[in-house]
Symmetry: C2
Subunit: 420 residues, 2 copies
């Protein structure tokens, strides 16, 4: 019984230790096959209750008193929870704050300012756009040079490849842990070691890995990291992001946006910015409390499931996609645009097809499958381990092959609409 027998997928679901987790999410329409958990994760049921508590009781009834009844500590508490269970970071190094882009700006600027004698910022030419743009802006502002390296698309930035481009001129190496297109999973520890030998700091973008693959920031020797919470962490659209600053760097690094939530004696409201000695110096303005609460709920839910089990299921789900691709889709003109070795891959798979955009649109409009599309020709399938069944993957791949075999996508207007 091979992967192209649906009963194999049914058996995987029966044996899945995380099968029950799905019931903790709002899934109103099981016929809609949602393979875009890598873009926007599903809504946890507990988050509805938590939001009601935060909004109706804490805000509505307790009002301003809630700041002294838990809100002030929320960014650090949610950060520690993420750190302990999902990011491999001891307490006091992770905080929830702002957006990924703003956090990237703050930490990259801090690293550059701490290394005035080094001119280069090194990143990946195919890194997620906001990372490249933020670094480009910082390079322009601070008179540094941004080197966008063309790494092998399927391998991503290997330690060997990084070794060739990082040297004593490098102030900062900024990479994604999991590539947003191919899903290539970087060897964080090996790359951190390379950077450390060159005296460069590392800043990791964990958007596509947090909650999907084990991250070991402390053990890997990572210096800095940021990441979003609305993908695998299921905290909702645009929910506050997180940042990590290794403890040994906290006292010497200063970020450029000197807001009152970074101030040591915040409510003395005194003259002169004097940053807090700990990770809170990387905070800026008043945190969006309902959003941080949603991060806490999302993180708590995955913490209970266990990142190792989530990772194992993520591998099995993407292995099923790869196997069905080989059997069904390769003959239809698809190509696998993700690493074949699951140990080198995050929790999503990219399939390349010349008609990728129309196919992805047709999947949504005609087949009730939601993937996403990334230029130039990539259909991304992100089966979030917490909420996706093996039969969902099987059915989605089955609908995909039929749709393309029948040419359904050829009726789709190829004019590109907004795609997120």
């Amino acid at each position: 019984m091979g992967p192209n027998d649906r009963r194999a997928a049914e058996r995987l679901d029966r044996d899945d230790p995380l099968a029950g987790l799905r019931e903790q999410f709002v899934i109103d329409d099981p016929e809609l096959l949602y393979l875009d958990g890598n873009s926007l994760g599903r809504l946890p049921r507990r988050s509805i209750a938590r939001l009601r508590e935060v909004v109706e009781r804490e805000w509505g009834e307790r009002l301003i008193r809630s700041w002294n009844e838990g809100w002030m500590d929320l960014p650090a508490r949610a950060g520690d929870l993420l750190g302990e269970h999902l990011l491999g970071a001891a307490p006091g190094q992770v905080a929830v704050s702002d957006s990924t882009s703003v956090n990237l700006y703050k930490l990259a600027a801090a690293a550059l300012d701490a290394n005035p004698g080094r001119e280069a910022i090194v990143s990946d030419r195919h890194n997620f756009p906001t990372d490249r743009y933020v670094l480009e802006g910082l390079a322009a502002e601070r008179g540094r040079r941004l080197e966008l390296v063309e790494f092998d698309e399927l391998e991503g930035p290997t330690a060997a490849a990084v070794e060739r481009v990082v040297d004593r001129r490098t102030a900062l190496l900024c990479l994604s842990h999991v590539d947003y297109r191919s899903g290539a999973l970087a060897d964080m520890a090996a790359i951190d070691a390379v950077a450390r030998r060159a005296g460069a700091m590392t800043l990791w973008d964990l958007c596509h890995s947090a909650g999907a693959v084990p991250v070991e920031l402390d053990a890997a020797g990572a210096d800095l990291a940021v990441g979003c919470t609305y993908k695998y962490l299921n905290a909702g659209p645009g929910a506050p992001a997180f940042l990590y600053v290794r403890r040994e760097h906290q006292a010497r690094l200063r970020q450029p946006i000197w807001g009152w939530f970074g101030q040591r004696e915040q409510f003395a409201m005194g003259q002169g910015y004097d940053p807090a000695p700990e990770v809170s110096r990387f905070l800026v303005g008043t945190p969006f409390v309902p959003g941080v609460a949603l991060v806490e709920e999302g993180a708590a839910l995955l913490a209970e499931a266990g990142i190792e089990r989530l990772r194992a299921k993520g591998i099995a789900l993407t292995e099923l996609i790869v196997a069905l691709h080989d059997d069904w889709l390769a003959p239809l003109g698809f190509g696998l645009a993700s690493p074949r070795d699951p140990a080198l891959r995050g929790s999503h798979v990219a399939l390349a097809h010349p008609d990728g955009y129309r196919i992805s649109q047709a999947l949504i409009s005609h087949a009730r499958v939601i993937p996403d599309f990334r230029p130039p020709d990539r259909i991304r399938l992100g089966p979030a381990p917490a909420t996706t069944r093996f039969v969902d993957v099987w059915d989605a791949m089955d609908r995909l092959r039929r749709l393309v075999a029948d040419g359904v996508h050829l009726s789709v207007d190829p004019t590109r609409a907004k795609v997120t």
Copy 2:
């Protein structure tokens, strides 16, 4: 029948055209007198329904599709609503984004970078801390000089006083429209005229005026503005802030945080940052959708009430505080630390008392009145016009005078707890 007769307050409530507005908010405990609407506004009932719609239907059911079904336009839509009804700004100049501190950083940096030949940033030595800290950081980063001017506390920054400190060396003048301590209301148009003559740009902090006093950004000739939404706009703790960039400046100003939501062809995900030609170039990362939706609800509610009516009630409420202060509190050692002329005052009143901290704490713990406290000795009373009755003010002032006359506050531990 003078103000110290409760029946006068009852009559004001009977005649109040906004009396019904209060029913649109969650007020579970009418005995709790909440005079901290200038710090955290109350929860509108409609916001509960909207949040449920955004979270349970748009996120939970529509999932990623919601980005194309309204979420993408939300920051601009909420901004235009604020602009039209509360800020005096024509469409296309206001966006909801990030925190006030981050917005202040972006706009102040843009103004400085557009005026490289001018060395000075001028602000108020008693401006809200985050404003001073952000400007201090920018001055340090960009080699400019921050001049914190000591304006008269009760007058605030008058046009005449500003004229003495702004000149051809001034790149940017950054002031609060309403002083967070005294409530002094600045003459925006007159000050903008002074700045314009000197060739300096103006950046207004509207945190304590948006939704409380009419703001006429376009008519006043303001260049830039930022403000929070969790005070009079009732969008909840830490809700996304807004920014205003006068249309004529949009194409030439560039802010330093180059995120993907500021990119012209965002979803082409191409190489090189190319900022959008309009106000969206001042956006950065993925907006927090539930938060922006709360801003839209809060703004819509006040828009329906009408800012002129809100302002008239705000004046009447603070006039009642001043009158009762004079009758009841002045003999107990209080002093009015706000302008006496209501035309020169926002919607809150500060009362100074040497024991201000203990009195404000005792009001909360012993009298069920919630004010807030600001160093060194200020009890702030912010009776939000949308949710506060005249009898609430009367009763709060009555409880306050009794509490101090009886010395209840003397039993409070003077060790300062966190106060927000």
